[in-house]
Symmetry: D2
Subunit: 346 residues, 4 copies
């Protein structure tokens, strides 16, 4: 850690030195012509987050520059080899690129069953679908709740799939975990710390979506909340960012794949449906995500997007999904990864 001091405060060096030493740092001041800086090493910075804030608050402190990362358990430094998360036999983070697919929202048993059958046959191993939906408007459909969870579970079991579904309410974590194999934390809840702590207490793996303007560090600190609660089966998910562009719903940050993989050992999943908001862009960005090294994709598919309750414009039809898959497999193989595809359409 480097503390940059303002000019004209003769006691600043002594005071900062004392505070740093009390927190376990070794201290070395460097006196320049214009500025004096204090270098501190040896302390445990990620345990001293609040102390750093206090240093910044001194009138005579111009800046505090960190040279270590504020997260620890999820960092690549703490575990150089990549994590592989086992979802009842489906391994996320290994050589296989894992496909998660299904409708945005659970609407009916028929809708989910039909979709599960198609996406499973095309190569998806995890069924997605929302039973509790975060809706911008209070007048929007809020999800089917428990009946929706049951529909997902039954459809997944029938076609040999696993279930990923969102949990929004701390009071429902246990309930959702009874039906789901993966608990999804949505982008809007990435910094809902009580929810992060609650899923940290769970033994069910977590898919943690990046907030729509969250920095990588903030996403990793959110993961650290979950991990420090005891649950280290975490998948990071990039789902598009809010920017100044208005032609697309979000801007998908494909660079998050290599960047997060260099900072953390956790698997990285890409959501190109939410990431663009346009079904016509999903195939191209799915190929790009795999080429960049993504460990999995999560994609919205609907039997009849024109009548989807939510997110119709970004949901693929069955033929679109089926047509896309062989191309994804070719790209995966070009970068040395595998994809499971039962039928041999290519």
């Amino acid at each position: 850690m480097i503390i940059v001091l303002r000019q004209g405060h003769p006691v600043a060096v002594a005071q900062v030195t004392q505070e740093l030493e009390e927190h376990g740092y070794q201290v070395l001041p460097v006196f320049g012509v214009e500025k004096t800086i204090v270098c501190a090493v040896g302390g445990d910075e990620h345990k001293n987050v609040d102390f750093l804030e206090q240093l910044r608050a001194h009138e005579f402190v111009e800046d505090v520059l960190l040279i270590t990362r504020p997260y620890k358990i999820v960092s690549r430094e703490s575990q150089p080899e990549r994590s592989v998360i086992d979802i009842g036999g489906v391994k996320v983070g290994g050589n296989e690129v894992v496909m998660m697919a299904g409708p945005c929202t659970v609407e009916s048993e028929e809708q989910v069953t039909q979709t599960a059958e198609v996406v499973a046959r095309a190569g998806a191993s995890i069924l997605r679908g929302g039973a509790y939906k975060p809706s911008t408007s209070p007048y929007s459909f809020q999800g089917m709740g428990v009946p929706g969870l049951k529909i997902l579970r039954q459809a997944a079991d029938r076609f040999g799939m696993k279930v990923v579904t969102e949990v929004m309410d701390v009071r429902k974590v246990e309930l959702v975990a009874q039906y789901a194999d993966i608990l999804q934390i949505g982008a809007r809840n990435m910094q809902n710390y009580d929810l992060l702590k609650e899923v940290g207490q769970s033994r069910t793996p977590v898919l943690l979506k990046r907030g729509m303007t969250a920095r990588y560090e903030e996403l990793l600190l959110a993961a650290e909340y979950v991990a420090s609660g005891g649950n280290q089966a975490i998948m990071l998910c990039e789902r598009g960012l809010r920017t100044f562009e208005t032609a697309t719903r979000n801007m998908l940050d494909i660079g998050a794949v290599p960047m997060l993989q260099s900072l953390s050992h956790l698997p990285v999943i890409i959501d190109p449906s939410q990431g663009t908001g346009k079904r016509d862009l999903v195939a191209a960005l799915s190929r790009a995500a795999i080429a960049a090294g993504a460990d999995g994709l999560i994609i919205e598919v609907h039997p009849n997007p024109d009548h989807a309750i939510k997110d119709g414009p970004q949901s693929m039809t069955f033929p679109q999904f089926e047509d896309m898959m062989p191309g994804l497999k070719r790209v995966a193989e070009a970068v040395g990864r595998s994809m499971r595809m039962k039928s041999a359409k290519a």
Copy 2:
């Protein structure tokens, strides 16, 4: 509502017309050389949010353009006169510009009591302070909890003030409401819909902070969640936005004051402490907020910012706060507003 159709779909007009009429709209198609558009009027769009999404999902629909607002209860159209919210005698939204001040985080009885005394004497009528703190790092201080709430309540009562404090957890809304006069929803929880619904059930007024990259419409839809639950005593709070700038923590959107006041009848509060992250900018932006028409300010003050557990760099010292107040009063009077100041320093 306007539906723009793509070329080359002969049945599109008939199908869209039928769907619109089923939802209560009157429909008029306009056939142009390049495009056909369908105009629909008379339906209740804010009740048809999901239907609009479905229209957008049609392959032959290029765009759906709304011409009414998606929120209703909180809109200026539904109530042309400005709302005044009565917090046990302190009126927010009336002629008086209301000052809320206090420490970022409750640390001790002494800290809060000293601060309450100073800010009350200088003209603040509402005491702020966090007993539950949203911290980016899991290793940061998370707040004192109930003892912190008690400290706030006692200090406020002693100096004739009201209490505003944050609630983060749906399970604690009732608990916090036992001690607080205003429930604060933080920026990170602006789209935590279960929490919004829960405070919507409460009878305690709500201070709703804008998410750090939330659009005005999203803030107003979040307010609509609270209002549609039955609690219409809502204050909107702009607290700075995340942008590309790195020199300040956030960028305060002073334009939110006139803009939100034109869209909604709810009072608008400005948080210049969080809004900039730098105590040296707080006075200038407080003056600006009042000049732009803000109904109140919420400001971080600490007896000793250098040793504040959180947000020291943006917390004012006692003398800074006392020095700032007369200047704010002068600006308030210049724009026809009043401020309460017991002591006559000017």
Copy 3:
């Protein structure tokens, strides 16, 4: 075009109708309960840009909604088949993915010649390098000028390559065109309209970089400036966007590839060096760009990035570039594209 009128202006419909008819539109008003809207079709909107602005300025006009695009020559509608630009035999926009590579800045004959030799052998057909450099600081190196242009030309000729280099000054367009096969317009100059007009007069192809927070529409309007001047040999280049993220220099928008290709017939080039600012991310994002359908890449390579005058952190070494190329070719082939690679390393 749709004009949404405010309530309470009885003469609004008549006045707007008259103005629209004077500009060649057919007009149809739709009277709703809450709002009246006026639909206008048949006019030439991209020639009426200023008139649209005037409509918006009416007190009784709430909004003007366009349903056609403001650019024409460069739009996909005006030319459904993709453009192929012939740079002296190198075809950009065809089946081959074209590699442009070279140093950020021309520093010496030796540096450029060595780099050209390596990148040409590895499969690049266009040599990049800056002789005029846009530098944020006036105290930074501003480029070698004409001697730099000569070095580029000689090195390219020696290894059978073409030259792309930036022109910043309207007074130097002719001069740079004497040495270059492609005139690069940098991101900072995307809306330097005098420069766009000047290269529009030239017969030399143009590589137009997207401004760092330019919307797709603005990039295409900048291309329209060049095209409407007579020069339609334009390549669009995405080079990373400025966002709130601080861990990388820019955020590369891979989605720009399919999006721009759907809006325009012009080829799309990706710059992953500038797009991330980190050489360790370049290979992954190059693969992603090709998988998404990019027509070419432009990459910074330096014999000794540690001593590069500019952009060392994002410049690849020779071995890094050579190691990356076979992987790019595999991805290109997986998506049905070709890449030229003389040597058969894979």
Copy 4:
């Protein structure tokens, strides 16, 4: 300057030390458990911009942290007292808040003369108006050119005003300076370095607008380009930023006023017309700007905004401008500043 080294490079300290010493720095390494850092003081960092880049490019360098500012002439450190710029007797940066007003675009002699008369009488001392217009579309009006400059000059002279007008083309700087008292550099040209150098050669004062996503540091480096060319009569102008918000054209950063004034001695002007894009917000944000300490405002006024060629929606009518002025004066006086107002309407 602090150089943070990666682990596992034994010769890194020696090499970095040597390079730093060659550039005039004194060097002190600090060996920590996890990292080694090298502190360097005494060199002239703003003259060593390129060298810093080279340090960053070393494989063994993780980061280079600057502790001094990259601009010098325009910094507050180099000149603690605020600059006052004398525009033929109108002093910008002194006690008086200076009003610049006029149409967006020069359309006719009558339009400019009428506007000049009204704004001069209401208290404006500088006439604004564009003879060369940066238009997003090539099909938009591009300005009247020299006849427009003549109209501005005559109208200003007639009512005792000065002229500010934009120059976009390096070849026209001298020409525009023959008619203008202040050369405006538009937001799109803030990093058009050839243009900055050209106005740096001029003796005419410069109004430098901030780019729509430029950081404070970049604006000040652009000003440093002008200043280092010899022209130090520079006014910084904040004109609204591009963000994710779509309800307003731009988001006005009022915090730029105290922030830029703390970083630089140059006067700061606010443009609330461009800054919001909505004339109904201009008065509130003008008051806010003055309350925050702005040295001047630049405001768009038009005799008939409904028929303005450009920017009608953000142009005030004559009565709006006249009604606003007394309120601005009251706020100015509340913060200890003066405004000239010939007529005594209040």
